[in-house]
């Protein structure tokens, strides 16, 4: 009887369980392999900055808090990374985006998906599309509307259309959304902040 009650709650909760695709620690090692020490930089956005970010990306971080992790080797910074969540109609994704000291994207990893989206996300990841982000820099200060509309991936969806299934393509668009958020946040609030 208890199981039936529990089961009834399932229907009530409509849970889309989160699945860890890559542990954060492994993502960090993959993105910044030479880093031996880390600092977390927490950027608490003012109302004006949060509004500016929202205007550009139709998005704001939870509690107005952006967190970047700077990797160091000895006294030298070797890069930074951030984790961005993207809420899709099929549950949330989490994307890790790393940046070199020159501000260009080093590597993108999808760290979390959901039971429902896992297969689509993995198909997208295995297609190799994410490697196309390496070296991307963004002119994010030019035109906010253009930022919101322009995919971060060079070539945009056309570069993978036909190579992956429809849902995998949709997930790659969601991943791109996360990368765009990371790139804009990094350029506006990491590179310009002290540290």
């Amino acid at each position: 009887m208890n199981r039936i009650f529990i089961a009834a709650l399932v229907a009530a909760l409509h849970i889309t369980p989160t699945v860890v695709l890559v542990k954060r620690e492994d993502a960090v090692k993959s993105i910044l392999p030479t880093a031996t020490a880390f600092t977390a930089r927490e950027v608490h956005l003012s109302g004006a900055d949060a509004h500016r970010l929202h205007e550009a990306l139709d998005w704001g971080p939870d509690d107005g808090l952006l967190t970047f992790y700077t990797g160091r080797s000895g006294a030298s910074a070797v890069g930074a990374l951030t984790f961005v969540r993207v809420d899709t109609p099929h549950g949330p994704l989490e994307v890790a985006v790393g940046f070199g000291t020159d501000g260009a994207v080093l590597r993108v990893e999808v760290t979390k998906a959901t039971v429902e989206t896992k297969a689509w996300v993995l198909e997208g990841v295995r297609s190799g599309v994410l490697s196309g982000y390496a070296g991307v820099k963004s002119g994010v200060t030019a035109n906010q509307e253009a930022v919101a509309r322009t995919p971060a991936l060079p070539g945009g969806p056309e570069s993978y259309r036909g190579k992956v299934g429809q849902m995998a393509g949709f997930m790659l668009e969601q991943i791109d959304k996360g990368v765009r958020r990371a790139v804009v946040s990094y350029n506006w609030f990491y590179r310009t902040s002290a540290g």
Binding site: R3, A8, V10, A11, I15, E25, H44, L45, D62, G195
Partner: protein
């Protein structure tokens, strides 16, 4: 009323049994999923549906930095509470309510053959349909009125489980365990 589960052709009884078994199986695996990924309290339901209270933004953007170890990244791997935002709740309502309606209707058809009094028939059918109403009312009220309404969603879930269990037990008993008495026409 001529329709009585006890008097059905055995193939139809088997169909009804399979239907009830399939619903039960679905519920069991769903329950397992909740057990793995979520809690069962109104508090957890409230955290899933209530919009988080926004922290007060500082007047100017503030930056704080602190050292962290590699192992600290592990903390981010713990399962997060899945927040169902308004858009997702609209979608959930759109997708789930019709299916709940179909399930309640099928179970109600079973109820009509249980041989219970009309009063009990009304009660069962009302329970089967009101449980999902309660469920979704709880979700929407939790989001837009108060997190305390999460208790409605929990109650709705329990009511669905109770409705299914009662109908399944009574139907199986009626179909397979009760002796069929011949109807005599006056």
């Amino acid at each position: 009323m001529p329709y009585d589960l006890a008097r059905l052709d055995r193939r139809v009884k088997w169909l009804v049994t399979c239907l009830l078994g399939t619903f039960g199986l679905a519920y069991l695996f769903g329950g397992w999923m909740v057990w793995l990924y979520a809690g069962f309290t109104p508090d957890r339901v409230a955290r899933t549906y209530a919009e988080p209270t926004a922290a007060a933004a500082p007047e100017t953007t503030m930056v704080m930095e602190h050292a962290m170890s590699m192992s600290a990244f592990d903390a981010g791997d713990t399962a997060e509470v899945h927040l169902v935002d308004t858009k997702l709740l609209v979608q959930d309502t759109h997708v789930h309510v019709p299916m709940y309606g179909v399930i309640a209707a099928l179970l109600s058809v079973v109820v009509l053959g249980l041989g219970v009094s009309p009063r009990w028939g009304y009660a069962f059918i009302t329970l089967l349909f009101s449980a999902p109403w309660l469920d979704f009312a709880g979700m929407w009220l939790t989001k837009f009125a108060s997190p305390h309404f999460a208790v409605l969603t929990v109650a709705g879930g329990f009511a669905m489980g109770l409705g299914y269990t009662l109908v399944a037990v009574l139907a199986l008993r009626r179909m397979w365990l009760m002796p069929v008495t011949e109807r005599t026409n006056p």
